[in-house]
Symmetry: C2
Subunit: 355 residues, 2 copies
């Protein structure tokens, strides 16, 4: 069971002539054998609903101030040609009725409501975007989060955590950005990766012959993101890497106590923290704690890489940059704007180093 929801809107320079508009479009609904119900809007223009065959339902509103909206809901399996004809007839008629008065007419791609596969995964800045998802590859609720892997025709498998697009197989740009955009030499270096359960970073850093990579991760997705992680997650220990499936905070604290340090710390934990102990009462406190501990285990010549957020969330980014100024160890930072294919928004990445 699914519904296609079509919209057709006219923005006018001057208010529409309601009686003329209604007279003009009514024959179209009559021809389609749709039964009209007129509603009293208490002074907010004309509003009529129409019930047709096959469960078709339409709403026509002529607002008092120059906007006409039309909605048509059709059930899955309805005759697409008939539906198209109705919309075409209505659009054509309205273009005639409103001739010379149209600022804009807009007929959007139909909303797909209740489809077997959900294609709408809003951006971090809250915009509605439709993906070309054709298959649910994997879905599970772990103790920490809802994990989905969906297949996109163009982006390949996409990892979605708690409804946020996390990484797709098309997104090498993300991995490259959070590794310093190719400007670093990892050969012979000691690297700490926080998070990165998709294996993308590990897979790319391994290729660069580091001395040792330590990765702290809660969960893996080695099965369904092969293009991203290759085979590096098949074993938790390799020649130059070790994956510890453990909570970051206690391990980082232990490293800091032991005086263990790294040339690179790459923080790829999701923006929403996976686990917060009572001492960290908010997302920001968690971020600050991880940052502080990361800088503690960073060598004086080392670099800390992390993702920020989408370019449009300027307030959140400013808050993060302010936080960088308040760490127990003074740091400097630079940032870079990167286009990650499956995100449909530009993403900010940070490089942080000790002053």
């Amino acid at each position: 069971m699914a519904v296609r929801h079509y919209t057709l809107d006219f923005k006018l320079s001057a208010p529409a002539d309601i009686p003329a508009t209604v007279r003009g479009v009514q024959p179209i609904f009559q021809e389609q054998e749709m039964t009209e119900t007129l509603h009293d809007t208490e002074g907010h223009g004309y509003l009529a609903t129409f019930i047709g065959k096959n469960g078709r339902f339409a709403v026509l509103r002529v607002h008092s101030h120059g906007l006409v909206t039309f909605d048509l809901q059709c059930c899955e399996g309805d005759d697409a040609t008939q539906v198209d004809n109705l919309l075409n007839a209505l659009e054509k008629k309205m273009k005639t009725l409103f001739h010379g008065n149209i600022k804009r007419s807009k007929r959007l791609p139909a909303l797909r409501r209740g489809d077997k596969v959900d294609c709408y995964w809003p951006t971090a800045d809250g915009r509605l975007v439709e993906y070309d998802i054709d298959e649910v590859v994997y879905e599970e609720d772990s103790v920490y989060q809802n994990i989905k892997i969906l297949h996109s025709r163009q982006f390949g498998n996409i990892l979605i955590l708690n409804g946020d697009v996390n990484l797709a197989e098309s997104d090498l740009a993300y991995t490259q950005a959070i590794m310093g955009s190719g400007k670093e030499s990892y050969a012979g270096k000691e690297v700490l990766i926080l998070g990165g359960g998709d294996g993308g970073i590990l897979c790319e850093v391994v290729k660069l012959k580091p001395k040792m990579i330590t990765m702290l991760v809660i969960d893996g997705c080695r099965k369904h993101m092969r293009k991203t992680c290759g085979n590096v997650l098949d074993n938790l220990k390799g020649d130059c890497y070790e994956v510890l499936v453990e909570d970051c905070v206690p391990v980082l604290k232990k490293f800091a106590q032991e005086g263990r340090t790294f040339d690179y710390v790459i923080n790829d934990l999701t923006a929403v923290p996976i686990s917060t102990a009572p001492e960290e009462d908010s997302t920001w406190e968690f971020l600050r704690l991880i940052l502080d501990l990361s800088i503690k285990v960073l060598r004086s010549t080392g670099k800390y890489f992390t993702q920020g957020n989408c370019a449009n969330l300027t307030e959140a980014l400013s808050q993060y940059e302010e936080l960088l100024g308040r760490l127990s160890c003074p740091v400097d930072f630079s940032k870079e704007l990167v286009c990650v294919p499956s995100y449909m928004e530009l993403w900010v990445f940070y490089t942080v180093w000790k002053k």
Copy 2:
């Protein structure tokens, strides 16, 4: 005058108990002083509409086969907190009513209908995507097409031709791809650019010290796409380039007759042809004609670059590749998949050369 259109959908494992659902949610509408109208759907489940204050209008449908959809239309300037409260109350109540029976619940970012600035510019493969447009910079209907330049917070100015996103100031990736992705040496070469009215290609090729660039273009946008075109369009003639504001076909025919040839031909004409003479009766015929003429003026060692379309339009791309096999001069080709930031879909670029 604008409308926010909110949706809230529940996909259920088993059909909802209609009387229990209606009993459960009715108090919420009553509390909001919304007047219910029950509709006869002729066997297609429960359908009620509600009219509330400030022109609010809601539709609740409980479909027979496990889908519940809710629509709420509110006029611009309505009390956002009240609207949010209504949606929250409804979502919470439904989650209780359908507990254990919910496959998925979805509350999308509100559709912005009739807004001053239109933010919906569907992708080439017909998906609904919302842009972060905050200003209409320029709008005009030329003889050939509707030209819009809209400002996006993250992508900068975006050129939109006949409703298709053409190029944004963020899209250097497009220009680089259609120039051969940095693998070509333009120094001392003769280059022909078809289209490219935004000036991006001209601006980038000029930097590479070619012998001469000839550009055939209908229209320019030198004012509002400065980040893309720099100052190269301020004069139609420079040290190493000449811009001819003319129709491509007759000029290409003249070049072919004169035996004039080029090292590189870059075809950046829009996918929809701007002008078709009677002899070319379709888009494809126009494409074929341009291609044939371009290959005629291409040196035997030369390369022809062009955009294809989005990765998902596999049939159109196959048709184009078939066409490449039927040119009067035999050619080979390669293609590349490129992420152009403002497109929100992967784009295919072609390199074509003489066999």
